[in-house]
């Protein structure tokens, strides 16, 4: 038997509901039209948080060896950093 790393039904249901609320929020931001710099920043932060929930809680990497958590979270940090740099580069056009 292995240590339980998958949380409880209650905790995962709360996370799922929060993820859906965050999706509704980002969808409404897009539906409002021009998101603007701060809107894009908020969108990126919310999307990053959603990804972190998937990595840490749904994939159960919160309880994995630090190296695996660092690699996956590091991947997401690098991807969003690259997206941010490219977006800022585009603003300067």
């Amino acid at each position: 038997m292995s240590a339980n790393v998958h949380g409880t039904p209650r905790s995962s249901t709360i996370l799922w509901a929060t993820l859906l609320l965050a999706t509704l929020l980002t969808w409404s931001m897009g539906a409002l039209g021009e998101t603007g710099r701060w809107g894009v920043a908020a969108l990126a932060v919310i999307s990053f948080w959603k990804g972190a929930v998937i990595i840490l809680d749904f994939m159960a990497l919160r309880h994995a060896p630090l190296l695996w958590r660092a690699i996956t979270m590091g991947w997401m940090i690098v991807v969003w950093a690259v997206i941010a740099i490219a977006y800022i580069k585009g603003l300067a056009q």
Binding site: M1, S2, A3, N4, V5, H6, G7, T8, P9, S12, T13, L15, W16, L19, L20, T23, T26, W27, M29, G30, A31, E34, T35, V40, L43, A44, S47, K50, G51, I54, I55, D57, F58, M59, A60, L61, H63, A64, P65, L66, W68, I71, T72, W75, M76, V78, V79, W80, V82, I83, I85, A86, Y87, K89, G90, Q93
Partner: protein, 202 residues
């Protein structure tokens, strides 16, 4: 009088060891890393191409069906949640609920496929193709690359559903279920960047 006793041979599995544990087979995690790197390169290529064609990308992105994209986000998040519930059910030796949660994940994952096919049909009606513009090239190739991963994920979910119905997953024998679950969550994770990047950010 003999007071000391020799330990009896262990007849059961050792007690769980508290501490870090990677859920699922190690091989799937190397596979997931390779997939994340591939998608990461795709995302970077999209972002920097967009930076050089801002007006074109903004105009063509505005024509995308953002509602369909948001609906697909809800479907994938829900499928992931159902998979988590399936794993939790297996941990308490509840084979039937485990299978039912997996069936729920299969149906919501299939919903993603239906919505995406509808989106592609609408795009092809408007003569959108890989060669019609840089944005369309990225939109079609990125989403289709992801679409293929959803299909593979569904195949894995069906295999796990079959296993769960036979009571194959239980505490101490979770590796197959956790391995498939990790792959499905990866498909969800990638979409959570793809959707805002391609459909929303402008």
């Amino acid at each position: 009088m003999e007071t000391s006793t020799a330990p009896l041979p262990a007849r059961t599995a050792p007690a769980p060891v508290a501490g870090p544990r990677l859920a699922g087979d190690l091989a799937i995690w190397f596979f997931i890393l390779a997939e994340l790197l591939a998608f990461g390169v795709f995302f970077a290529a999209y972002a920097f191409t967009r930076a050089n064609h801002i007006e074109l990308f903004n105009a063509e992105q505005a024509a995308l069906n953002r509602n369909a994209g948001a609906l697909n986000t809800v479907l994938l998040l829900t499928a992931s949640y159902f998979v988590v519930r399936a794993v939790q059910a297996a941990e308490r030796e509840a084979a039937r609920p485990c299978a039912n949660w997996l069936l729920g994940a299969i149906l919501t994952g299939f919903g993603f496929i239906v919505v995406k096919l509808g989106e592609y049909a609408a795009a092809f009606e408007h003569n959108i193709s890989l060669s019609s513009s840089p944005f369309h090239m990225f939109y079609l190739s990125l989403t289709f690359f992801h679409f293929m991963h959803v299909i593979l994920g569904l195949v894995i979910l069906v295999a796990m559903w079959n296993g769960a119905r036979q009571g194959r997953y239980r505490p101490g024998d979770m590796n197959g279920l956790e391995t498939g679950a990790a792959y499905w969550h990866m498909v969800d994770l990638v979409w959570l960047i793809l959707f805002p990047l391609v459909y929303v950010i402008h």
